[in-house]
Symmetry: C2
Subunit: 333 residues, 2 copies
C-alpha cells in the first residue's frame, strides 16, 4: 500500500457524552489505523493530563492547543456565537481556518458547530446553510443521507442543493456518483407534501444527477439508493429511530439468550453483526457547504465511533472535498 499523505486533524476534546477519555481513546485507534495521521487536540489545560494514557509512539503524533472554555453539550446557536470564542470547539475550527489542520472533529452541539463553522469558515458560493450528511448501515454498505438535522425548515431548492452537494461528496468518498433517492411517504409521483414533489421535479431536471425518484423510509435499509435526500427533521427522525430500534432489538436479544447454551455459542456472531449494523458505529457526519472540513461526531458515540469520525475527516482532507465542492457547485450555477 502506498503511504498516504500526512494530514492533520484538529479534535475538539470536549465534545461527547463519554468525556475526554472516549475522545483520547478514539484518537489512539484512529492513529493506529492511519500511520500518516497527526492530531491537534484542543482542550482546557486541566484536561490534558488524560493524554498520559496514550502509548508513547502515538503520543509523538499529538500536538495540543489550549482552550479557555468548553461549550455545554446542549448550547444553542445564538449562545454559541456570543460565548464561543476561546472554547475548544472554536480553537479547533480556528486551526482549520488558518490551515494548520486539514479537518476538525467535534462531538459538541450541532447548532453550535453549525453556527461557529459558518462564522469562522464561511460557506461555499450559493450555499446558505451547511447540511449534515451521515451514514445509515444496510446489508451491503452504508447509505448516505442528508440533511441529518441541521436544517429543519427547507424549500424545494434547498433539497435540490442537498442532492447536488451529496452527489459531489459521495463521488469523493466512494469514488462513484451516487444513485439518489428523495425521502417521501410513498413512491407514486403524486404522493407527499408540495415541497417534496417540487423538489423531485427540480432534481429530475438537473443534468448529471442520477435520480431514482422517491424512496420510503423502509427502502432506505435495502440500499436501493446510495444517497437519500430529505429535510433535517425527517433525516433526524429516520436516523435516530433506526438507532432506537436497533438498540432495543439487541438488548432484547441479549436478555432473551442470556444464560442459554445457544446464546453463548452465537455471542461472537451477534457482536459482529451489532458492530456492522449499529448506526452509532457509523459515526461521523460531514458538515457540507462550509469552507473547511468539519465532522460532527455523535454525542454518545464510543471510542471506535470517534475514531471513525477522525478517519473520515482525514479522508475528506486528503481528497480536498471542499475544493471539489466549490468548483463543482460553482459550475452548476
Amino acid at each position: 500500500m502506498a503511504k498516504l499523505d500526512e494530514v492533520r486533524v484538529a479534535v475538539d476534546a470536549m465534545g461527547g457524552d463519554g468525556g475526554i477519555a472516549t475522545v483520547i481513546s478514539g484518537i489512539g485507534l484512529a492513529m493506529q489505523a492511519d500511520p500518516s495521521l497527526h492530531i491537534i487536540l484542543a482542550a482546557p489545560r486541566s484536561e490534558l493530563e488524560a493524554l498520559g494514557t496514550v502509548d508513547k509512539t502515538l503520543r509523538a503524533r499529538i500536538e495540543t492547543v489550549e482552550a479557555e472554555t468548553v461549550l455545554a453539550p446542549g448550547i444553542n446557536a445564538a449562545r454559541a456565537i456570543r460565548r464561543g470564542q476561546g472554547s475548544s470547539m472554536w480553537v479547533a475550527l480556528e486551526l482549520v481556518r488558518s490551515g494548520a489542520a486539514g479537518a476538525m472533529v467535534s462531538g459538541g452541539s450541532t447548532g453550535a458547530l453549525m453556527a461557529l463553522s459558518r462564522q469562522l469558515l464561511g460557506t461555499l458560493p450559493g450555499v446558505e446553510r451547511p447540511a449534515l450528511m451521515g451514514a445509515i448501515p444496510t446489508i451491503d454498505k452504508p447509505v448516505w443521507m442528508l440533511d441529518l438535522g441541521a436544517n429543519v425548515n427547507v424549500d424545494a431548492r434547498r433539497l435540490l442543493e442537498f442532492a447536488q452537494i451529496g452527489h459531489v461528496a459521495c463521488k469523493v468518498l466512494q469514488g462513484a456518483a451516487p444513485r439518489i433517492g428523495l425521502l417521501n411517504v410513498g413512491t407514486e409521483p403524486g404522493k407527499g407534501p408540495d415541497v417534496v414533489r417540487e423538489a423531485a421535479r427540480l432534481i429530475a431536471e438537473e443534468p448529471g444527477l442520477d435520480f431514482a425518484g422517491f424512496v420510503e423510509a423502509d427502502q432506505v435499509f435495502n440500499a436501493t439508493v446510495d444517497l437519500v435526500v430529505c429535510d433535517g427533521f425527517a433525516g433526524n427522525v429516520l436516523l435516530k429511530g433506526a438507532e432506537g430500534a436497533v438498540r432495543l432489538l439487541f438488548s432484547s436479544l441479549r436478555d432473551a439468550l442470556k444464560g442459554s447454551l445457544g446464546g453463548w455459542i452465537v455471542k461472537k456472531r451477534m457482536r459482529h453483526l451489532h458492530d456492522m449494523l449499529d448506526p452509532a458505529r457509523h459515526n461521523g457526519a460531514p458538515m457540507l457547504g462550509v469552507r473547511g472540513t468539519v465532522i460532527k461526531s455523535h454525542g454518545n458515540t464510543c471510542n471506535k465511533g470517534f475514531a471513525r469520525a477522525i478517519n473520515l475527516g482525514a479522508l475528506q482532507a486528503r481528497h480536498n472535498l471542499v475544493a471539489q465542492l466549490e468548483s463543482q457547485l460553482w459550475a452548476s450555477y
Copy 2:
C-alpha cells in the same frame, strides 16, 4: 371470562399485497381469538370461492356482500372519489354507515380509505381531516403514535388536535390516560421547527392532557411516553424506518446464524422476539376523527397482522370509541 358482546366487523377483502388468501386466513385467526366476532366480507363474486378454505364452524359466522370492483393498491384520493362507488372498500364502509357493521378493516390505499371514509361517514365536529394512529413496539408495551401518514402538512393546532384525539383513544384502548410526547429533533425547549414549538405551547396549556414535552425518535423505543404526536410525514418515516431496520436486522441474524448449532438452539427464542418487535405484527391503525370505526391494515401484513387489525376494530366498536371521541372532543370546544 364474561362473554363479550357480539360485534360485526366488515372486511374489505381486496386490500392487501397478500391477496384474499391472507385476508381470509386472518379472518379465521381473528374469529378463533374472539368467539363473539362476526365478519361481513365485501368482495367481488369471483373471489368468494377462497372462502372454501375456511373451517365450517367459523364459516357460519361469515356473511358475504358482493362488490362490483376492486380499487388498485396505489390509487390516490381523487381517483378513489371518482371511481370508488361499488368497490369492496366502498361496500365495507357502507356497512359501517348503515350500522350493519360496528367497524371496518381495509388494507387498501391510505389515501383512498381516508377520502371514502370522509365521504361516506363524515368527520366528527371540529375535525377537518382524520388521522391514523398506529403502534410502535417497545420493550414493555407498544407505544401509540399519530399521525402516521394521513396528514403530511399540519399546523400547530392540528398537532394539538392529534394530542386530544389520541388522549381519548388511548384511554379507551388502554384504560388509562396516556403520557404524551411531541416528536422533535431535540428535547430542549428552543429546538425544532416553529410549528412544533408552537404545538408544544398549545398542548402544555390544554387542561387534562398529560404532556411530557419533546421526545426524540430514539426515545420512542424506550417507552418513556405512551403516545407520540407528530405530523404524518415524520410519523410515516419513523414507523417505516423502524420496520426497515428491524427487518434488516432479523434477516442479517438469520444469515449469520444459518447452519450453526447455536443458531439452531436460539431459533425459537428469536422467532418469539421477532413476533414481539416486528412493527408489521403490531398491525392495525385506527383512522380517528371519522364518524365510524375504520381500521387501516398495513398493505404487506401477514395473516396474524390482519387478524390483529380485525380484533382491534372489534375492541373499538365494543367500547364505542367514536361516541366517546365525539362527546369528549365536543367538550373541549
